[in-house]
Symmetry: C2
Subunit: 341 residues, 2 copies
Amino acid sequence: MREVNRQWRLAAYPKGLPRESDWTLTEAPVPVPGAGQMLVRASYLDVAPYMRGRISPQTNYAAGVAVGEVMVGGAVGEVLASNCPQFDAGDLVVTEFDFGWQDYALLTPAQVRRVDTALAPAHCWLDLLGLNGVTAYFGLAQAEMRPGDSVVISAAAGSVGQLAGQIAKIGGCRVIAITSSEAKLARCRELGYDDGIAYRIEPDLAAAVKRVCPRGVDVFFDNTAGPIHDAVVQNLALNARVTLCGTVSLAARFGEADIGPRFLRQIMIARARVQGFLVFDYAPRYDEARARLAAWYGDGRIRLHYDIADGLASQPRAFLRLLGSENLGKQLVRNDAPAGA
Amino acid sequence: MREVNRQWRLAAYPKGLPRESDWTLTEAPVPVPGAGQMLVRASYLDVAPYMRGRISPQTNYAAGVAVGEVMVGGAVGEVLASNCPQFDAGDLVVTEFDFGWQDYALLTPAQVRRVDTALAPAHCWLDLLGLNGVTAYFGLAQAEMRPGDSVVISAAAGSVGQLAGQIAKIGGCRVIAITSSEAKLARCRELGYDDGIAYRIEPDLAAAVKRVCPRGVDVFFDNTAGPIHDAVVQNLALNARVTLCGTVSLAARFGEADIGPRFLRQIMIARARVQGFLVFDYAPRYDEARARLAAWYGDGRIRLHYDIADGLASQPRAFLRLLGSENLGKQLVRNDAPAGA
């Protein structure tokens, strides 16, 4: 019988790179669903870079987590009890942000989507059919990717990157991975990337980009900012398009000024376009993208790597692995809480 | 009788900010037009920021001037002798780049446009109906300026800026000048700018932009890069568009790295678009813009300030004044060479 709901609460706003001690594992009773609510047990908990932005006192897209609150996060889970006509016990649902780092959550129908494992297995609903998939799809669309473009993707083996790389291949592009290690680069090649750079072993990143894109970069899907961004921007082709999708490499100095070389003159001369991207702006078109992503997955044209940690206790550690770029594939946590009586 | 053609030749590539000694005034015989050529005497010589980019060994849009060559530049001039059926002695013509800093030049019909003083006086053909006009027009078009936008223009009193500000007003925008001094800001207000900043007297530029654009900047027409760019980018409204048109504030450190704060995260969060601009990309549409500019000038909806130096001897000094932001209005040089026999 389940009795305890373990919850990771924010203990302090991190200074620089977060540490495990920035969260505390607490226990609460398993909640009881009220009218219109359902009790959901997490099957897979999400681990994602956006979470860094939610634990800063800085202005951001969304309200942050206050110290003492349950840490924000999404999950795929099973309905254990339902007071909603739309869902029954045994149904699988997914929520992008409203689960929290905990075993059980009360959710309403408006907070979830139904998981259909005929389209893709449960754990795929946090990336392929979650926000990562639509991020990759619309991030490339915003950059007006065209067949024949040289497309560079940073954090190429990550949850968005591995999808973007494969979508760009489907779109007839030459696709270049930038990732941390040779192990990850090998994974990228398995997924169909044409070439790539393991940045930790390159003494001169800008020269490495020039080596793999001698005619310049047409599209840059930037998940990192920082030195990787700098290296690519020095190699933009005429009329290049850059999608600024994430800034994970700035995580260590979140809230501090990012001082370094600026390339406005290069951007001007290339008539390049550098554009911020937020997937929520494309929400009215998610269904279009998800139908295509599910079909490509079903055809085997998209394959995915996962890095799944075991047990809710590992949640902060899994998040720190992600920030440290140590994960191989989409990082998730498989829950170990009891499933029922 | 004209016998001597004075010519400013590049003496050395400038290190940092150019100095007068980087050019030497030499004399040559007045050339004699061959078949298909005409001899043109400069009436007004152009002085423009792009010239800085042509005297650097760096890669740039266009071929640079070699040491020893006549300095590049445009002019409005009078045809003194013509071996072309299209033009006769007494006609006025304009060339954007092919005159050079000299009294007389040989030109072909392909290098010039005919000046029609019924549309605007001769000196207006180097800005209003030259490249500055189409730069202002298409730079705002690229930024998808819309009525009601808050539009910030740097180098607002300059040759492109004073045109962009008035076009943005015609387009129903709230228009904000950023310029160096209070004297220039007063000129901008005369031209219809709604508000502005004299950056030399502001202790905190980002705060000053926030003061004049409390709801953020929708369009930034950037002629300067540098600290002004930094201040505006920290105040971008959601979905802001930035046109990178010029980098005159980097002139002192041309070819060196531009080190400073980067704002990728702010650009991402605002979903802003930062885009390089080169007017030549719009060449097929110049006539569309010039017809409108001439009509607005004719209606008095566009007025222009000029800062006209006297005599070819003042050409390098006039260019240095421009780089030092000392000119009030479009900088030109009125030629003092003899007009005829």
